[in-house]
């Protein structure tokens, strides 16, 4: 049974890894009370999705999709790479906006812990 599953498992294990990391990131976003931790979780979540994409385009034995003189070389699918480049831009922008917000929240409230923020808001 296990022997039958193994090849498939190894062929696709990077997908499973991506899912595991995604879940770790999602967990941090939901369960962690520290705002910086939430953003770290967001980063992990996003990179895991990128990993997922890159894995999908990976062909065993392919070369990087850079122009070479050899027309016979097998390229890996370059489109996901272009997409991920864009997605990385988006991710870093999100992180930057998030961090800027965290800084201003800290200036306004003096804390970046979610529970303390809720307590302070309830008091007002």
């Amino acid at each position: 049974m296990i022997e039958m599953l193994l090849p498939g498992l190894f062929l696709r294990y990077n997908y499973y890894m991506a899912v595991i990391i995604m879940l770790i990131g999602l967990y941090a976003m939901i369960a962690k009370g520290n705002l910086i931790k939430k953003i770290i979780g967001l980063n992990i979540f996003q990179t895991a999705i990128f990993l997922f994409y890159i894995s999908s385009s990976d062909i065993i034995g392919g070369t990087a999709p850079i122009l070479t003189s050899d027309p016979a070389s097998v390229y890996v699918n370059p489109l996901p790479h272009v997409l991920i480049l864009t997605a990385i831009v988006v991710a870093v922008s999100t992180t930057a906006v998030g961090l800027a917000l965290v800084i201003r929240i800290y200036e306004a409230y003096g804390t970046i812990e979610e529970d303390e923020l809720i307590a302070m808001e309830a008091k007002e």
């Binding site: 976003m29 997922f52 489109l79 988006v90 998030g98 917000l101 929240i105």
Partner: protein
């Protein structure tokens, strides 16, 4: 010559406008508003041209960089996005006008250039979502508009706006991640990102679990974006604490574009054949929408803050749109799409009014509005019209979309949703009537008597957009055939004859 390039101009123009605004703000802050205003007005004209072209010649296709699809990015405009584009740009123009007078009291003077820049970036994002025919491009524009929206929410002077913006950011990013995952799944299976291409390639693959997973990811992601009932938690705070003009934008433009994306993905990418017959997701979807309608209304009744009440009412009204889509009957879908226009008009008007109250009197709480109709008669009258429309009293726009959705529900034999729609009209009446009673039939309270008696209708810059929207509430209710002319070809196209 230019006429062929309108689809791309409508996206590039605000992007250029945003940076011109930024530069102009550097020279003189007063230049920002005219530039932003001019940009949105031109865009609105462009969108009208596009719509008329679409109505005459059928869907427009535009290939960026002359690359043919599916390799290049394609912009496709059919009746649906033509319609949505016109609606959101109409609201953008009015909001921009409104913001000229409303923002200086709510945003630091120094941040005005930033405000208009980000506003135009937001417009870029939503227009991009509206015109693109490429899934990944849709994701990118979705993120551009979301990032702009986070920044706009955070511009509020109250410090709680920061926290609500952060919550919005986290929720929005999670939803974007889900959408990205959904796109990834589709791409892995089909190798294409072009929507029309996907619709062609997908049918044989409908049984595949990967496709179904992708679909679920899309549904979750877009449900968060559109704040479908149990996932709406970010919405009330974001609406409550952002500056008035931003609230108007969020409630009309941003939420509507989310719904548009949902419709596009449900009906163009996955086609009705999948969503109705392959997996029974629409049934679940309808129940969630029904829960949103009732839940949103009940929560709205219990609010004491006007903007927050309107925010919960938005949750409820988005339920209407999604219910119309979820029933997937041609009449109901027509009603749902019509409600995009209607809700944008009504809710835009209401949030502008809420902003006017804050501007003229600083009053946010419903109870403090006692007797304000005497000193702000025009604003209060506009409120009554928009509220009547929300309740669905004819001959306002709100009535027409409810009529269609209910008729669609009847036609597909789902009586229970007819009752939900009608019952929620009553709940809506309860919370709006509370406000109207306070405004018209009570003496000013002791606490706010002074502010109420010195309040005046806001300056023309804020009053005119409000009144235009209030008038639109009635005009579109009477001349409902105008938007229907646009919507019906689309619905017929995707669902067969009406």
């Amino acid at each position: 010559m230019i006429a062929d390039h309108l689809p791309v101009l409508v996206v590039v123009l605000p992007l250029v406008g945003a940076f011109v605004t930024l530069l102009a703000g550097w020279a003189d802050r007063r230049l920002c508003f005219p530039i932003a205003m001019a940009t949105t007005v031109i865009q609105f004209c462009i969108s009208l041209l596009i719509l008329s072209q679409v109505m005459q010649t059928g869907p427009l296709h535009y290939n960026l960089g002359n690359w043919l699809p599916p390799w290049g990015i394609e912009y496709v405009i059919d009746q649906l996005n033509g319609f949505v584009l016109v609606v959101i740009l109409f609201l953008c123009v009015l909001t921009c006008l409104y913001s000229h007078r409303s923002t200086p009291s709510e945003i630091d003077e120094k941040k005005i250039p930033a405000f208009y820049t980000v506003l135009l970036l937001l417009v870029t994002g939503v227009c991009g979502i509206a015109v693109t025919g490429d899934l990944f491009n849709l994701y990118v524009f979705l993120e551009i508009s979301s990032l702009a929206a986070y920044a706009l929410v955070a511009l509020g002077r109250e410090k709680r706006s920061l926290v609500s913006s952060f919550t919005y950011l986290v929720m929005g990013s999670v939803s974007a991640c889900f959408i990205l995952l959904g796109i990834g799944h589709l791409y892995i299976v089909t190798g294409t990102l072009n929507m029309a291409d996907l619709a062609r390639v997908l049918p044989p693959l409908y049984g595949s679990t990967v496709i179904q997973t992708a679909f679920i990811f899309f549904i979750i992601g877009l449900s968060i974006k559109t704040a479908l009932f149990p996932l709406h938690l970010w919405l009330p705070d974001a609406y409550r604490y952002s500056p008035s003009a931003v609230t108007v934008l969020l409630s009309t433009v941003v939420s509507k574009i989310g719904v548009y994306a949902l419709i596009r993905i449900l009906f163009t990418v996955f086609t009705p054949a999948f969503i109705i017959f392959e997996i029974p997701v629409m049934e679940v979807f309808c129940w969630m929408a029904a829960a949103a309608i009732i839940g949103g209304s009940v929560l709205a009744i219990s609010q004491t803050d006007l903007k927050r009440m309107l925010a919960y009412s938005s949750v409820s009204q988005m339920g209407y749109i999604l219910l119309g889509i979820g029933i997937a009957d041609s009449l109901a879908v027509t009603g749902g799409i019509l409600h995009i226009l209607n809700h944008a008009v009504m809710k835009g008007c209401l949030f502008m009014i809420a902003g006017s109250f804050i501007y003229s009197s600083g009053i946010r709480s419903i109870e403090d509005l006692r007797g304000i109709a005497r000193t702000m008669p025009l604003t209060a009258a506009a409120f009554v019209i928009a509220a009547a429309s929300m309740i669905g009293i004819p001959p306002t726009v709100g009535f027409m979309s409810k009529w269609f959705i209910a008729l669609g529900a009847l036609e597909s034999g789902q009586w229970i949703f007819v009752l939900v729609i009608l019952a929620s009209s009553l709940l809506t009446a309860v919370y709006f009537w509370k406000v109207i009673e306070y405004m018209y039939f009570r003496e000013p309270g002791t606490v706010c008597a002074g502010t109420v008696s010195t309040a005046r209708d806001p300056p023309a810059g804020m009053l005119v957009p409000t009144l235009v929207l209030a008038a639109a509430c009635i005009l579109f209710g009477i001349f409902v055939s105008i938007p229907l002319e646009v919507i019906e070809p689309f619905v017929t196209g995707i669902l067969g004859g009406t």
